[in-house]
């Protein structure tokens, strides 16, 4: 036991040393999996008590808890925490703006006994930093953004890798298409969307070398009439599988279903809207990650843990909040087996949807053969891969 502790301490010290010498501090070390002592001593003594002794856990959301999308998934995750920790009160606040109001709501939750806070929108980061600085005894984690520079001992960010399930969905699409044309209705050319589109095409291409993905953007997260027009334009070009990155998803799915096309969903399982065309999709499940963060924090082990960083999860690390939606009836056993095999491959150290060589639309090799890009590299991709038809909107 004593030996083991010493080993952990050694490992932690070496991690700290690595942090000190790495440019940008500890922020990029997302895989530190053990408690790091601060100033020597045993793990238990040095773990710090941030996150312990509270009677509640708080969640702030930027939108309504029943939006059939992002915020509903957060709410569902918070209710899973409630079920897993019956002794803790779970506080939730909807429609919290991305400004100082967020800090005010979190302060209020702290007064009500919360020692662990989830700030679940990209724009909640500044408020999360502020609250974490004012309350060293409270653990604050933010969803989707990342901290540059040194990470305070009671702060962290986390997110999943949605492009992995989109890659797998691309396999389903590649097996389903007969025209070799897939369609993607997206909102804005942000990197998360570009990753999804590229991964979808790469997945399709892995099973159908002729597969192409046609893209149309709507310049809006939710304009159903524009979505309908975009879908119709894609269908009129011969596309027979449609997917999307939109906040509201029903219109694209219903329009494709009415035209007899296949559908890959996003955000939620909408198979009921497309009984004939539904293939699969990427949906949210925050329960395992939220529960583990709360378990780590309330045990006093947050500081120095993998969550005390810009934590990103995929199939490699498990607890990816993005999972595959149930398969539609038209998906064959062969396709399901291909997808299962691909998911296992993604979980290996060399597995990535963006495993090189990755070539862009102009034929330039962007990721060399055999290279496994890290999360930061993938989150910085700003080009469409070969096989995507369409250009990024000019600005």
């Amino acid at each position: 036991m004593q030996l083991k502790l010493a080993g952990i301490t050694l490992a932690a010290v070496s991690v700290l040393a690595a942090c000190a010498s790495a440019p940008g501090g500890c922020a990029a070390t997302g895989t530190v999996a053990i408690a790091a002592p601060v100033g020597g001593g045993t793990v238990v003594d040095a773990a710090g008590k941030a996150g312990t002794g509270g009677s509640a856990v708080g969640f702030i959301m930027v939108g309504p808890k029943d939006d059939y999308g992002y915020n509903q998934a957060v709410y569902a995750g918070s209710q899973a925490v409630k079920a897993a920790f019956p002794d803790l009160q779970v506080l939730t606040a909807e429609n919290v703006p991305e400004d100082d109001n967020a800090a005010r709501v979190m302060e209020d939750m702290i007064r009500k006994g919360a020692k662990v806070l989830f700030a679940t929108s990209y724009g909640h980061l500044d408020a999360a930093k502020k609250v974490a600085a004012a309350h060293p005894d409270v653990v604050v984690v933010e969803q989707g953004n990342s901290v540059t520079g040194a990470m305070p001992p009671n702060l962290g960010t986390y997110f999943g890798t949605v492009y992995e399930p989109m890659y797998l969905a691309g396999i389903a699409a590649g097996k389903a298409t007969t025209s070799h044309k897939l369609g993607y209705v997206y909102a804005f050319p942000i990197t998360q969307t570009i990753d999804n589109i590229d991964a979808f095409e790469l997945g399709a291409r892995s099973v159908d070398p002729q597969a192409t993905t046609y893209v149309v953007n709507t310049s809006s997260w939710c304009d159903p009439a524009k979505q309908a027009q975009a879908t119709k334009s894609l269908l009129s070009e011969g596309v027979d599988v449609i997917t999307q990155h939109q906040d509201c998803t029903a219109t694209v799915i219903k329009t494709a279903e009415a035209a007899g096309a296949h559908v890959v969903g996003y955000h939620s399982d909408a198979s009921a809207l497309a009984p004939n065309g539904w293939l699969t999709g990427a949906v949210w499940d925050w329960a395992p990650l939220y529960t583990d963060i709360v378990r780590t924090a309330t045990a006093g082990q947050f500081t120095g843990s993998k969550y005390n960083a810009n934590y990103r999860v995929g199939y490699k690390t498990g607890t990816n909040p993005f999972v595959m939606a149930p398969y539609g009836s038209s998906v064959s056993q062969e396709t399901k087996d291909l997808i299962a095999a691909a998911q296992l491959r993604l979980a290996t150290p060399d597995g990535s949807p963006f495993l090189g060589p990755v070539t862009d639309q102009d034929g330039t090799v962007r990721i060399s053969a055999g290279t496994v890009p890290d999360y930061a590299t993938i989150e910085a991709i700003t080009y469409f891969v070969q096989g995507v038809v369409g250009k990024l909107p000019s600005s």
Partner: protein
Amino acid sequence: MTSLLVDVAAGAVAGGTSIMYAGLGETISERAGIINLGTEGCMLAGALGGYAIAARTGTPWAGVVAGGLAGAALALVHGVLVINRKANQFASGFTVLFLALGLTSLWGVHYVGATIHALHPWRVPGLGSIPGLGPVFFRHDPLTYASFVAAPVIWWVLDRTRVGLLLRTAGERPEALEVNGYRVAPVQYAAVAAGGALAGLGGAQLSLAVANAWFENMVAGRGFIAVALVIFAAWHPMRVMAGSYLFGAALALGPALQARGHGVNQFALDVIPYVLTLLVLAALGRRTLQAAPDGLKRVFDSARVA
């Protein structure tokens, strides 16, 4: 596979219809001397009212009726404020808009994700198979077919009937109505209600036929395009019809080009309706303003003084 021209033209009719309904309604209202900047709100009320009733009753036609009634009811709130209480028309219009934005977001939550029997496209036998014309005009939902006759009928009523004369006189020379023993207010109420009902139908066409869904703020500015369209069309129903297809084409051009692999800036395309309206105003200037009903000129003038 379909040619770009056919794709854009079919999209112009599909996307322009809701704008046409709202624009026709606003034309009626403005010809009677009442400008309703809350048209966007009337469309939202129609979109939600229509979707909610279609979801509850299981029939889209009940939704169509409800959408029209919801739009009319909201427009009458504006009517009471500006006709009875003599409130500033611009201020009242915006108030009604924000009221509708708030209430539809609040009540609409229950209907996000609800499913309905939509107003599905119906292919006109024979005509629907004509190359080019078929997909553009004859493969639409019933409300789109109704809009084909709505514009000429409204033109005929406004220009050629006694009802139209009364309505136009209310907008141009209200004192002349009084002299002849008519009361102005009921005529204006009727015009405002009809305008709101048509905007509501436009909203219902969006949720029941085009989108087959309800989401908060789903009208997304089409009501403002409609108000701009009325000025663009110089208060003439047939020109409203043509203009709505022009604006619809601007909305359809982006997706059609992108689906063929061309890069476009959707933001630039989205401002086309407003740029066209500005150009028309700049080119016609005085002539456009002279086409405005006299009653409206008073609204603009009083706004300038205030």
